[in-house]
Symmetry: C2
Subunit: 256 residues, 2 copies
């Protein structure tokens, strides 16, 4: 029974897509059957795995509005254990259109339920907002993985995100848990980053992954080649950090 994990944080540019793409690729390398769902109209996760977007009729937009089944819109990637449901700019309109649906917060949950059997993990890359699409992702998810940039504005937003998670637990999805908090773009040389790490570990304890993603230019270069870091530069500190994250993530699943 596949586990659904939403990678979310309404603060922009904190490494949601980079984490979704590279954790998904690392899990696929470990032969876990993985589906990556791009729920952001920017479509960054879609291009991050090298999907050229040649078929605008087979995206998450069609699946959400019931124009196609999820099985019809999922596509293969270069990794045999990784599929993707791509996004395209049509998704911008989806938020307004979904407002008129019954059970508008559960549309994604309903659509993904038929795919759970096929995968070990379904990762959802969210856009930087707390609108209806992200609420759909939180209502559908078993857990939320929170990428956290070690910066002041990012810390400020964490409270708002946790408040939203609690509200979703109370009203839409009582089983939603926090998968973990991942420190991203960490530059150990700066006092700010070290202060943030100390505060976050003190406050959230074991929820925070031991694995920390360093700032590494190879991570920002790899999307321009349409490849996850494992294919672009496997020896980079970025690739090693995401392998470490995948290991820790899988160990936590085993521990239950």
């Amino acid at each position: 029974m596949g586990k659904i994990i939403s990678i979310a944080n309404q603060k922009g540019g904190v490494g949601k897509t980079t984490t979704a793409v590279n954790l998904a690729a690392s899990l696929a390398i470990a032969e876990r059957r993985t589906l990556l769902v791009d729920l952001d109209p920017q479509g960054n996760a879609t291009s991050g795995v090298g999907y050229a977007g040649d078929d605008a009729q087979r995206t998450i937009y069609q699946a959400l509005l019931g124009l196609a089944t999820p099985a019809e819109v999922l596509q293969q990637t270069e990794f045999s254990y990784l599929d993707i449901i791509p996004a395209d700019p049509d998704l911008i309109g989806a938020e307004m259109e979904l407002l008129h649906y019954e059970r508008r917060e559960f549309i994604l949950a309903d659509r993904l339920s038929s795919l759970r059997e096929r995968y070990d993990y379904i990762l959802i890359d969210c856009s930087p907002s707390l609108g209806l699409l992200t609420i759909n992702a939180l209502a559908a998810a078993d857990t939320i993985l929170i990428p956290l940039q070690s910066e002041y504005y990012a810390m400020e937003g964490l409270g708002q995100l946790l408040f939203t998670v609690r509200r979703v637990q109370e009203t839409l999805n009582p089983g939603l848990e926090i998968e973990g908090i991942l420190l991203t773009m960490m530059d150990q040389r700066t006092t700010l980053a070290r202060q943030v790490e100390k505060e976050v570990r003190e406050h959230f304890g074991p929820l925070v992954y031991q694995a920390v993603i360093p700032r590494n230019v190879r991570l920002s270069e790899s999307p321009s080649h349409g490849k996850p870091i494992a294919l672009y530069d496997v020896s980079s500190t970025g690739a090693q950090a995401y392998f470490q994250l995948a290991d820790e993530f899988m160990r936590r699943q085993a521990a239950g």
Copy 2:
């Protein structure tokens, strides 16, 4: 007659707030009467100028919904030529609420029209989305200032943003122009950043500011002290770059 400039880009974390806060502060130092409007529920611009948010009844949310006049919600800052209309998390609900209004794209334009006389510049900090709040900002604005991170995903989003700007020009605000494109978080050492700068200048020519904002840790430290960079560390490369931007911005106004 005050000029309204929206600082927008749906890509997250590209330096919208950092630009809004520090351009506004630099203009205030040059004794231009400036108003900063925080239109992002994250409220980063609000805390970036050190506003403690002690009055939840006097925010942009009240002004948008007509619960208070704009003049009642604007607040003073440490700079005598800079006022702010703060944001708070209530704003998350505003997008859904505004959907039911007549002229729902023009609510902000209508509210700000009474303030135009009082200021030389009104800067609007937008959230990382192309939802109704950002559409309101584009419908109200004379121009849009686009912070652009020199990264692949940010470049990918530029096309979508320009498409949206064209649609707003055709349907809501024919007078909307591009104020300029600002390269942010520029790390001259990386090939990716140099490539992006070369491409952007070739493609957009004089629209791109000569001033380029370097990656500078002092810029990310200053919000934790609730101060724009000019007050936090005036000698930093970040402060100097935003002074240079303000100069170039003012020279462009004079040139018309």
